[in-house]
């Protein structure tokens, strides 16, 4: 019963977020927040739901960006085709990387994803003909979006492009929310807590986690494609392992236990960077301090703050989280 409602609630809240954002901040920041929101949510499918600490998600973000970029620079495919190809491309790469990495667990897994990320980075870096190497892939066009009924929508217009991003944002959050509460999601959660037992129940843990890895990769690819469209370039550093680290951090500040936590994380992350860099040239120091504080005192991320606040209001002790939940 509750579950039924909460899908609706998720949809509602995402729509509301998407609708409010541009009213309170410059449109392109709002767009970027949604894009990284998508990226962060996809990453949380691995980190939060499946307990797979991947430090290589930027690779798939990047692949998506480059594929889409390539389509919109060298071909005149319609928008939809470009986005789909981007997702397929990322899914493919994620499939391969996952096939290798998931056999290893814990810190080995993390290092493998890290290594693959680095490797893909250097490949993109040296494959100048296609990716533009260090100077990035430039001259990406934003094809008009051809919609039935509505007709042709010019995405050159910031607001229209924002709408597109928002639509995809809502779609992916609903998808990821449903997935987290589907049998697959439950299996992933179970495998996170006790892979051996999950296998002895007759589930292929490897397969479940591989699927999660591919889905996360594909959605990261979608985010990457949107990113490439946003600034009409695909810069090389968007694919480096530091951006993998950043997205992990977005997830952590936002909180892993909910679907929307990571979006909040993305918002805070992007906003803080902009804010800090305006007030002090040595801003990364403030940022570092912020990371440290979050890790030491706010393990559950900002979402945890809300819970604490709620518990403060409603005196009753909370029933322990049933889905995902804490990792302590």
């Amino acid at each position: 019963m509750l579950r039924t409602q909460s899908t609706v609630l998720i949809a509602a809240s995402t729509v509301i977020i998407a609708a409010l954002a541009p009213l309170v901040m410059p449109i392109n920041i709002a767009t970027e927040i949604l894009i990284f929101g998508i990226f962060a949510m996809s990453t949380n499918l691995l980190i939060g739901v499946s307990g797979l600490y991947s430090f290589g998600q930027a690779a798939f973000f990047g692949v998506g960006g480059y594929v889409a970029g390539y389509c919109f620079v060298h071909t005149n495919l319609p928008l939809s085709a470009g986005l789909v190809l981007a997702m397929l491309g990322s899914a493919l790469v994620a499939g391969l990387v996952g096939a290798f990495s998931i056999r290893r667990t814990g810190i080995y897994f993390m290092m493998l994803t890290f290594a693959f990320n680095q490797m893909i980075y250097y490949l993109a870096y040296s494959w100048r003909a296609v990716t533009g190497g260090e100077d990035g892939m430039g001259g990406i066009r934003r094809p008009a979006l051809d919609m039935p009924l509505v007709g042709n929508i010019d995405l050159g217009n910031h607001l229209n492009f924002y709408m597109l991003a928002a639509a995809l944002f809502v779609a992916s959050s609903i998808l990821l929310f449903r997935l987290a509460r589907s049998p697959l999601g439950l299996v992933l959660d179970a495998a996170k807590q006790n892979p051996r037992r999950t296998a002895s129940l007759g589930f292929s843990v490897y397969r479940a986690q591989w699927i999660a890895f591919v889905v996360a990769g594909a959605i990261a690819g979608l985010a990457g494609a949107l990113f490439a469209l946003l600034y009409r370039i695909m810069p090389i550093d968007a694919i480096s392992w530091t951006s993998s680290g950043n997205v992990v951090f977005m997830v952590v500040i936002g909180g892993m236990s909910s679907v929307l936590g990571p979006v909040l994380g993305a918002a805070i992350f992007i906003w803080l960077q902009g804010f800090f860099s305006l007030i002090w040239a040595r801003w990364p120091l403030l940022f570092g301090v912020f990371i440290i504080l979050v890790v030491l005192f706010l393990r559950g991320g900002v979402a945890e703050l809300f819970d604490r606040a709620r518990q403060a209001f409603t005196r009753k002790t909370p029933t322990p989280a049933v889905q995902g939940g804490s990792h302590e």
Binding site: G106, I107, V295
Partner: protein, 286 residues
Amino acid sequence: MTSLIAAQLINGVAIGMLYALTAFGLSIIKGLLNVPNFAHGAFFAVGAYVCYAADRAGMPFAVSLLLAFLVPAVLGVLVERLGVSRLMNSPYLYQLLFLFGTALVMEQLIIIIWGSVGLSMSPPAFLEGAFDLGFTYLPRYLVFNGCMAALTIMAVYLLIERTRIGSQIRAGIDKREMAQCLGIDVGRLITAGFGLGSGLAGLSGGLVLPLLGANATMGADMMAIAFVVLVIGGLGSIYGAIAAGILVGVIQSVSTVFVPAASTVLIYVAMIVTLTIRPQGLFGER
């Protein structure tokens, strides 16, 4: 051709010793903490800057190097006490992020203290110039570097294998529960190990100063390599890093004979191949 490869081998080993030293520190910490120290690069940088400052203050090179070890070591102890140790019982993700944040802070502090313009320091006079081996030149300082790294590693090896604290550290790494049963304070052990590891990072930072100079981001570059070295060497064994360090140095150096531009990629290829065939690394146990 052969002489060129020979030359690159020598050069590679010399470089490799430095990677080995840096990664060795990392691997001690990894061994005790079961977390790769994301702040290792920062300690490396601090070492370089401390060494520079000491040299400017007119101290002899030896003293500068000593300080390049001590200061980061103390810093390391602080970081471990104040932060890492509090996160012992949470998933390593949080320790990683904590160290990540610490690295950012240290990097910026360096800039605030020493400015963001890179710094250089010439090696002491008796180490300038190069040996002419006929088929190649071998910079004196590079040789010195290799030897110093080798000696340090040897010393630490003896410390760990031959002394009581050493045997405790080993116990802490190999069988922590047992160590606890033996009434060893694992917490203090980890602190000590973290300090030692950070110190080694700092020392190698000081050592490479005349070659690489000092700048705030030098840590990140070195850490990426140390990281690879650690993984190739084997997460299970602290000594694997030494052999792997030399290996990486040689790969990097010899590959310049054939495919210079690919040398970096090659290192990662090596890492992935290792992890896929032998997830525990070349020398890792279990």
